[in-house]
Amino acid sequence: MSSTEPLWEVFIRSKQGLDHKHVGSLHAADAKMAIENARDVYTRRMEGVSIWVVESKYIHSTNPDESESLFDPANDKVYRHPTFYELPDEVKYM
């Protein structure tokens, strides 16, 4: 049965969290079933309080072969980091 059902990626926001994290994937016939399946499979141990599901085909990702040209150039550009300004004492704990 699951070979004809689409694959969905599941993202869960934990109780203390701010962002939804990717926790895995599952098969389901439609969005409603995907949410229920995610609730049953991925929140058994109180892992989260909010669920997002997205059909896997709608997630687009970078190609590992292209990692060098996409990510390496950022490695040696320290002037892009916000670490050179010294905060005055009055706002030290900003």
């Binding site: 049965m1 389901a28 079933m33 399946n37 049953d40 058994r44």
Partner: protein, 261 residues
């Protein structure tokens, strides 16, 4: 109240608690048979989760019943004695809970009928004068709300599905319908506690019917014609299934009394 009246009141309360415990345990136990056999991994996990929820509910009720029984007895018992050492004619579960699982259509419809009953029952039971029962009802209501949602979803998918799924659903409904009436016919212990501890099941019958009708409408299914209704579970008169269930469920405790993990 003299002590005889107190004993009778106590017996009603114990019987009522056992009725709720046994019903949850039997349904949970039957559903657990799907472990490893679900049609898809996600549904296998879903239905075993539901089975665990129900067994957990039964434990709350059994612990309370044991507590009540122990007040007047020297030999102290536990929840395990009540679940594993009573015989079939002492069990008070609704008959629908001991029926076999059949196919997925039969199981999900059986669960839908039972969960919808539990939902309206517990929604009233939270107002019970017995604080412990009210508390158990409140906690169980959240789980049952999800059970109703999950099972009604399957009733709709299968009812409004293929020709095969629809005919399996119609078959399931016809075979389950004789067990519906019992949910709304009070046993003596329910009647005796009606205005304090227990609820008036007549109050929830219409709500249950409306819920079933609305889900069936979406599922393009219909309610069967009036038919002969089965009865007796609440009074220890059961179908032939219960004996087999208990023989398997109780074997270890009866063969090796006091056995622990």
């Amino acid at each position: 109240m003299n002590s005889k009246a107190i004993n009778i009141a106590k017996k009603n309360l114990v019987d009522f608690t056992l009725f709720l415990a046994d019903s949850s345990l039997m349904m949970g136990h039957r559903l657990s048979d799907w472990t490893g056999h679900g049609p898809m991994i996600e549904q296998d996990i879903a239905i075993t989760n539901i089975a665990l929820d129900l067994i957990g509910q039964s434990r709350n009720f059994y612990q309370y019943a044991a507590q009540l029984i122990n007040i007047q007895n020297d030999k102290k018992i536990t929840e395990d004695d009540l679940a594993y050492l009573r015989d079939a004619n002492e069990f008070k579960n609704l008959l629908i809970t001991e029926l076999p699982n059949g196919d997925w259509a039969f199981t999900t419809t059986k669960l839908f009928f039972f969960s919808a009953w539990q939902f309206y029952f517990y929604k009233q039971l939270i107002y019970s004068k017995d604080e412990q029962l009210a508390a158990i009802a409140e906690k169980s209501l959240k789980e049952v709300t999800y059970h109703v949602r999950w099972s009604s979803d399957w009733v709709i998918r299968l009812g409004d599905g293929t020709e095969e799924s629809k005919s399996r659903m119609e078959n399931a409904i016809l075979n389950l319908w004789p067990y519906i009436d019992e949910m709304f016919v009070p046993a003596a212990f329910e009647e005796n506690l009606k205005n304090s501890v227990s609820i008036d099941v007549n109050n929830i019958k219409n709500k249950w019917i409306e819920k079933v009708k609305s889900v069936f409408a979406e599922a393009t299914l219909s309610i069967p014609e009036k038919m002969w209704m089965q009865n007796g579970g609440k009074n220890g008169v059961h179908t032939e299934h219960l004996g087999y269930i208990l023989a398997e469920m109780q074997f270890m405790q009866r063969a090796y009394p006091g056995l622990e993990w």
